[in-house]
Symmetry: C2
Subunit: 363 residues, 2 copies
Amino acid sequence: MVQERQLVEKITRALLPQRAASSRLKLGIGDDAAVISLGSRTEWVLSCDTFLENVHFRLKTHPPDSVGYKALARATSDLAAMGATPRFFLLTLALPAGAAGALAGWSFVGRGFSHDKTSAPDSGALALEVPSESWLNAFLKGMARASRELGITIIGGDTTQSRTVFISITVLGEIAPGHALTRCGARPGDIIYVSGKLGRAQLGLELVLRGHARNHQVRALVQPHLYPKIQIALGSWLAQHRTAASAMDLSDGLSTDLGRLCAASQVGAKIYASKIPSVTIPPAAARYLGKPKLDPLQLALHGGEDYELLFTVSSRQAKKLNGAPGAAALTAIGEITRKRELILVASNGREAPLKSQGWDPFR
Amino acid sequence: MVQERQLVEKITRALLPQRAASSRLKLGIGDDAAVISLGSRTEWVLSCDTFLENVHFRLKTHPPDSVGYKALARATSDLAAMGATPRFFLLTLALPAGAAGALAGWSFVGRGFSHDKTSAPDSGALALEVPSESWLNAFLKGMARASRELGITIIGGDTTQSRTVFISITVLGEIAPGHALTRCGARPGDIIYVSGKLGRAQLGLELVLRGHARNHQVRALVQPHLYPKIQIALGSWLAQHRTAASAMDLSDGLSTDLGRLCAASQVGAKIYASKIPSVTIPPAAARYLGKPKLDPLQLALHGGEDYELLFTVSSRQAKKLNGAPGAAALTAIGEITRKRELILVASNGREAPLKSQGWDPFR
């Protein structure tokens, strides 16, 4: 078993044998994004994110416009996590164009498709068909909407052919020098905050996996999974006002991401089950979910893709948060500790270690 | 049939409904790379490039260190094509980690591998194994060598799981404001130059596809395909001295890339078969290539991945080229014409239209 963290460490060791001593590189591998400085009034924040068919989405269950929307939204969330203002992106798009009409409309893909493995890959001789206009159009429409809403402009990209849909997006954002929010600034005594309600995206995913992406009865509940809202204004505010000691976005679940933040800051954390703002599961939705019943706290602790912000604030600074955008939706869920362990305090007051059970693509 | 060009146009139309009027974006979609300005002494050049198993390389035939080397080299070639100095890159790496030991050493992959399609993709429940240490180590070693040779430093990336190896690299380079070499500056009367000998990479590919990647008898001949040399010094010199009116790198074959340069500049071109510096096929190699015999001119015209530079220079400026790095390896192959067509003049003086027969991932 290789974990994503181990793979990243391996890549870092292999490609950065000695830490490159570039005065322009303010922050390299290990945070939500890299930061480079050009000696001008702004620093640039860069990140890339991958969105893969059958890993992150399914053609059968996910509307194509949500694939386009979410691919760009989740990439941009890394900029929000740094407090940066999104500016530009590059899109890598690999599409199946194979023999069996892989992309001939999303209602057809359930049939599966074959691929001529015997074709010489570099010969240009692959017999290719048109990727479905309608899928691609809807995909791009969703991405264009995200682009408008997030204020981020495409400046380039690369297209190629592949067996399944592969999307990789590099995002660039801007920030005042030295203001980037990092994962490594949490100090013992800091208060831990999250924005929004957690577990909403996982609840949406559970409904989508059960075939309810287009069920109007649960429309509002699947939106957070299909069209996540990104916390740009909040991230930007926290960076501008230097309020947060550390921050990251919740992409892989609180239990996993809090562990990453604590590891980067070399601290621990204690959080309280009773304080965690968990998703509400309306009775109307329960009947689409079946048994066993989903536990809102478990969704909130381990569900991925909420793209809310997780950040820490020193107790002195906490009052300032009243001025933050969406201040009413911010919740203090615990505190940073010196001892390097994650503790969950149950509603009955009992303490237990919190294990990382969020999303890891290699688990 | 959708061609790459059409797909790029479609993406541009969908995501850039009106040309974004950002004063910072000096050059967007359509050239080798994007250029952004920050009002400081340099402009930044960005590009991304994809390198896919079974499309651009095969695990069975390509040594893993060459996959790592070439993935980064070919991405960086887009910076060379702009005249930029390579600085930073972000690496997206998706690896198979499936049930059948997909990456358990490159000598094993010939067995093929299966993938548990029934696993819930988002559940984190995929049963994953270690990607082969040895493949990954060699891959990263090759990439680290390219990183050193090209002077480009990793600053971030993204890793995930996929059925086949998927590599996407975003590169950033630096250039003096306004000096970037673009495709759109060619003017009628310009002399067309190429660096190096063309068709070498295609000859190498032909040998590799016949199983000779590690055959010491043809070692020198497969190198250009496996470990392409990138024309950073030449590109940088052309930009710095403002010698080239237009430039691009030869990634998809002269017949295809010259067409792109002419389209971007709204001109045509006439090139002479007798002047094209074609690869030499030594008799010793011929016996590994079999029949039908490869034609060096065809390899030079249509073979991809040479990563040499194609550029145009006004006749007034041509003399300056004597001072360029590797000046002896530069060849004038024809001239830019007003009439928007590509003409190949055969050795016997006969003129015929030159059709784009290079690499297009969607053809």
